[in-house]
């Protein structure tokens, strides 16, 4: 079988795992709805109506983040609970290709989980029936790529589910509150600003917010690609490293 065929098989397996319980996808969308139609709507009342549009993409990226970490959690469960890791590495797929496919599978799962959410945000941004919708999905996919990589890296080192959940929680806090979802980087003290400005969530938010604007969002998308690829590479290295243990 060709390499592409093998990748498709591994990605397909990951998608099947996601849909083995389609209730999960529904719950993730419900989470998105609470974030958008309760929290973001409340902030628009507390601050200004334009603030709703400003923070709306954040609800979708938070859902993408949850879905991406679900992939890492599945990898962790395969290793520690189901004892499947050894079996998976005996499959006739080169290990590097297998690791890359798992990351690709995680990204596809994340894009599927955020599919309706991205449509909702695209509608709010007035780009639902525009080619910019493809760019919107590209941004979500790139953001997910980085987070899937991070979650795979965490799953390789976390010896217990508590450690995994704690590191996940720390990363989620960093992505949510030390980014520009809710406020500009300029409100932070000068010392913290570089942390906020290099946050992948900041770049994803900037890219999404620039979509309906007059210029191209491709520059922002290109900036987001760099950390996403770096995190994906980290995830792949960690996944391969723990396979040797």
């Amino acid at each position: 079988m060709s390499s592409a065929g093998l990748v498709v098989r591994v990605v397909e397996r990951d998608i099947r795992i996601l849909f083995s319980d389609s209730f999960l996808v529904g719950i993730m969308f419900a989470n998105f709805c609470v974030d958008l139609f309760v929290t973001a709507a409340t902030f628009s009342n507390l601050i200004s109506s334009s603030y709703f549009l400003r923070i709306a993409p954040g609800s979708n990226f938070i859902t993408a983040m949850v879905a991406a970490f679900q992939s890492g959690r599945d990898v962790w469960r395969e290793k520690y609970i189901k004892d499947l890791a050894s079996y998976l590495f005996t499959l006739p797929v080169p290990r590097r290709l297998f690791a890359a496919s798992r990351i690709a599978g995680g990204v596809v799962r994340s894009v599927i989980a955020t599919f309706p959410g991205t449509l909702v945000i695209a509608y709010l941004y007035g780009i639902l029936f525009s080619p910019l919708l493809i760019e919107a999905y590209l941004i979500v996919g790139l953001f997910s790529l980085g987070i899937v990589g991070l979650s795979m890296a965490v799953s390789a080192f976390a010896s217990s589910i508590e450690v995994f959940a704690t590191v996940r929680s720390a990363i989620q806090l960093y992505l949510s509150f030390l980014s520009t979802i809710f406020y500009d980087a300029s409100v932070f003290p000068a010392v913290v600003q570089p942390i906020v400005e290099t946050n992948p969530m900041t770049w994803a938010m900037n890219a999404f917010r620039s979509l309906p604007g007059p210029g191209s969002a491709l520059n922002s998308i290109a900036i987001l690609t760099v950390p996403s690829l770096a995190f994906a590479a980290l995830g792949m290295i960690c996944y391969l490293w723990y396979a040797k243990l």
Partner: protein, 267 residues
């Protein structure tokens, strides 16, 4: 300390008789000790509280139109955190069932009634132990010094913790898949805190949320705590709502737990 050690100590009474309250307390003590054996949970929730209060609330307070929003959010974040931490007992119960530990626990010389009340009590007490440092931070920041007000607020928080523990036990014994349980509990946690007035005042909630929020247990606790700490008064209506929530979910959680364990036999 393992549960077997705890019960061996209890049964070392020379008469061989252990009071009901003693057994309930031993079950509760086991859950409290479990929390301290898993410091990661404490670390992650503490991090969340500190960042939410000192980063998010601090910056957002400068942007919102509501006067003294930081104080409102600080008190509400303690209430929301109590609800959040009380859900953890459900994870423990779910894991015990998944790992086979529950079968062992059921062989202990403790009646099912004592077992469940002890677990709910343990879940509530450990939430309170966990939340006290955060409560102290908020009390110091906002200069809450009236002992009676603080006592009333702690009572409200305990009632909320007790009720949410019951709700969490209900979920743990109702949902079967681990992934499904994980995301369902996360959604429930998010929903009960966001669809309430704990973090945001009622008048600023969207209209559709304003219809439901007044009936949330977190709203009852939040209003009662705010009234006790800021208004220095007792809100009887909210307290009654909170008590009703505790009664409903404790009974519901216990009933479903019994049904799952014993096919409906009440031991």
């Amino acid at each position: 300390m393992s549960s077997s050690t705890i019960l061996a100590k209890t049964s070392s009474d020379p008469t061989g008789q252990v009071s009901t309250s003693g057994l309930v307390w031993e079950m509760a003590r086991r859950d409290i000790l479990t929390l301290f054996r898993t410091p990661w949970i404490i670390i992650s929730r503490s991090m969340a509280f500190v960042i939410q209060l000192f980063v998010f609330a601090y910056f957002i307070s400068g942007m919102v139109v509501y006067p003294n929003f930081f104080q409102y959010y600080a008190v509400g974040s303690v209430v929301a955190m109590v609800a959040s931490i009380s859900f953890i007992i459900g994870y423990d119960i779910f894991e015990e069932a998944e790992e086979g530990l529950l079968d062992y626990l059921l062989t202990l010389p403790v009646s099912r009634r004592q077992f469940i009340i002890g677990r709910a009590l343990g879940g509530a007490i450990r939430s309170m132990i966990y939340i006290i440092p955060m409560f102290v931070i908020v009390a110091v920041l906002e200069h809450f010094a009236n002992p009676l007000s603080i006592l009333a607020a702690v009572l409200d928080l305990f009632l909320l913790a007790f009720g949410v523990t019951g709700l969490s036990i209900t979920m743990a014994v109702t949902v079967r898949s681990a992934n499904r349980f994980d995301v369902t509990l996360a959604l429930l946690d998010l929903a009960v805190t966001r669809i309430s007035v704990a973090l945001y005042p009622l008048t600023y909630l969207p209209n559709y949320v304003r219809l439901i929020a007044p009936y949330s247990p977190v709203t009852f606790a939040s209003i009662s705590v705010h009234d006790a700490l800021i208004g220095t008064s007792l809100n009887a209506t909210s307290l009654a709502g909170l008590l009703a929530f505790v009664a409903i979910f404790l009974v519901l959680g216990a009933t479903i737990y019994f049904r799952r364990l014993e096919g409906g036999v009440y031991g």
